[in-house]
Amino acid sequence: MVLTSVFSLFLLALVAPLVTRVAGRYAGWVLATVPAGWAVWYAGFIARVGEGEVITPASLVWVDSLGVALSTRVDGLSLMFALLVTGVGALVVAYAGGYLAGHHHLGRFYGYLIAFMASMLGLVVSDNLIAIFIFWELTSVTSFLLIGFGHDRAAARTAALQAMIVTGLGGLALLAGLLLMGVAAGTYEFSEMLEGGITLGDHPLYIGILVLVCLGAFTKSAQFPFHFWLPGAMEAPAPVSAYLHSSTMVKAGVFLLAKFSPVLGGTEEWAWTLQIVGGVTMVYAAFLAARAVYFKRILAFTTVSSLGAMVMLLGVGGPGEAAAMGFLLAHAMYKGTLFMVAGSVEHQTHTKNVEQLSGLMRIMPVTFAAAALGAASMAGVAPFFGFTAKYLMKGPIPEAAAGSFLVIGVMAMGIFMTTAALLVAYKPFVGKPNEAASAGSEAGPALLLGPVVLSVAGLIGGLMPGLFVQPLVASATAAVTGDAPEKALSSSIGMINMGTLLSTSTLAIVLGVVFYAVRDMLRRTTGLMDRLDPMLSGPVVFQRVLSGTLWFGRLQTRLLQNGSLNTYIRTTIIGFIALVLGLGANRLKNAFLWQDAERPSLLGMILVVLLIVSGVAATVFRYRLAAVAALGMAGVASALIFVFYGAPDVAMTQFAIETLTVLIFVLVFYHLPQFTSFTGRMQKFSDWVVSLAFGAVMAGMVMLAVQTDMAPKISGYFSENAVPLAYGRNIINVILVDFRAADTFGEIVVLGIAGVGVAALLSVSGRSQNPTKPDGGVA
């Protein structure tokens, strides 16, 4: 059934354009029923999984010999994500129906969106490492399609490419990491690693695995310095931002780190890497969020910051995992809400800049209510779920290695988050409606459902944690730590001093409000950041690397693919010589020192000298016919060598063919110009050097081949069986027409094709419109 949920969504993605055509403006509602149904189905597991049960349905064998299977495993962590993917997914599909109403590619959009949903669901329920990777890459690909959905805008195309390259490179690193992990653990099934109690902390490959897996997770979850692709991805329509770039896909990196922490976690390297990268991202992005003015950009930076906090909490370990899971769930709800609110405001008023809006409260009251609930949760105001999450967070951090720094970091994040919350939920809505705001009107039901449901869920989660929040977070934490669910939460709650918590929270909120009040000054005094941030990581470095790669490609093409056949041959041969000499210069040298039992005979020496002389003559003669005559001489000499060394059949063929060759040459050369010399002395000299070096290498190869004993010789078989089996006494003949008759047949076919080719070329020549020379009729 778990696999069915994944594949039914892929199927839905395929038929989505058709459904859109049939159902028209209700398509969003129709399509949303499927993920909503699966959300209800997954919600049915909350109680069972909350008690510590793990659902492992039968797996589907895929590539058995490589240990690849479509196996699934639903533990607390997977269940929480599966609920987010299907639940938020259903709301977003309905929302998209309102947001993109009337768009001529709406059907395609639903297809991409639901294909992403299926990939993400596959990712979170998979147990096999290779299957995880495949779904991981599918989420990158579908994300690329969604960011670039408005493909007629250059900014959208650039942002899509940027996201694709960053997450794609991370994906490659992840693949290597997963393969190493499989090798180190001896299995690609994650559940087998858990059951076997395998921890890789002491394995020699551990550092490699950690670096590669972290690269994959950090690029996907937009950690510093890879954070720049996420604000860029805001080019996507608002439903995509709400879904992929806040609630689900960008959390895939956090998901992976959480999932693997029983196997990879618990080491110094793990703790420091995650704490430092996550902590820096958390503070840095929160600060950028407080400075931004565009709705979605503010939200994008707060998302990056929250992701950093989650990574950092996973690095802290111990009760930190519980905080990470709680924060993750809270964040998905309030950030999904706020992105949809931002989309609604943008859709209704056509304004993206929060500073240019005011007084929307009277025009869009329901949207404002949802925004206020979401923002309160984001700022961590009691009694919202966001407060609970913050509450969980304050416990474990002081215990961590970098504890005091992280406390300050979390504090800073809380301050900037409050400022950002005020920017998105207070600034555009209060005051007197200005011109831009008056142009809008309250959004329709499709645009309201998502924000309202998610923001109310956030409130309920804070007021009545026992309903769904506690079992989900507890079982997800249990999946990460391996403890029993009820123990997982209590240990972290016990560490919190309520007094400090309330005082620090209040302080953060107050300071956030202060920063909000002086935000113009904040932006101006830190204007340097506008230039610094792109330089530190983002577009600038990315563009440099990209254009550098293209430049290198062009250079390489100019050097190697310059269109001259001579250069190609020269490059290939020089490369070959370098390779052979590099690998076996010594062996080649020794090959020449071999003691030969076969004494040189006088006749043999004469023939060899004749062959060499005629070969050289063919290259130096300036007259075509002289060169052809030399060529004929070389052919005869090589035929005589065949006679002398016991291969009369070969010699006879060589004589016949040589005669024909000379004839063809003479006939064709009649139509061709005299030899012309196009190159200078230096070029000729260097070509001779290359050619002689090549000849020397080939001579060495012959000597090596002679000394290689190729026993058992298969020729013995032919000699023994020629008479009994094939009734022939000329063994070469028997091989050609009997033992290897199929080869000979192939050879005849080649000859036939060549003949057809020759005839075709000659007949075209007869019809040529302006022949340079009259056709003499070669055939």
């Binding site: 020269r570 070969g615 291969a647 063809i664 196009f678 050619s691 010789k713 020629a722 070669v778």
Partner: protein, 115 residues
Amino acid sequence: MHLLMAITVGMMYATGLYMMLRRSIVKLLIGLVLLSHGSNLLIFTAAGLSEGNPPLIRPGEDGMVGPHTDPLPGALILTAIVISFAILAFACVLVKRGYEEVGTDDQNAMNTTDQ
């Protein structure tokens, strides 16, 4: 003798390659022939040389008696000779046609598909 033959093979490859590195496409044809001589002799020599005794079974006997030349390289070279002849014939006509169309035998002037 093997060393002499190896040097001969090397010389055939060297002269063949030199001709293929010329810009005149007619010379490329000559290089092709020299290169195939080199390859034939390479197969022949690599299998080991022995004078006399072709691989022919005398009437009345069921198999070869005494040392004799390996028949397999012979069979391979026979095939190679015929195939290289087919290639050469096709290449010759192609060069002739190319010259008629382009009016030059400089390879570097023949590197575009449009005239």
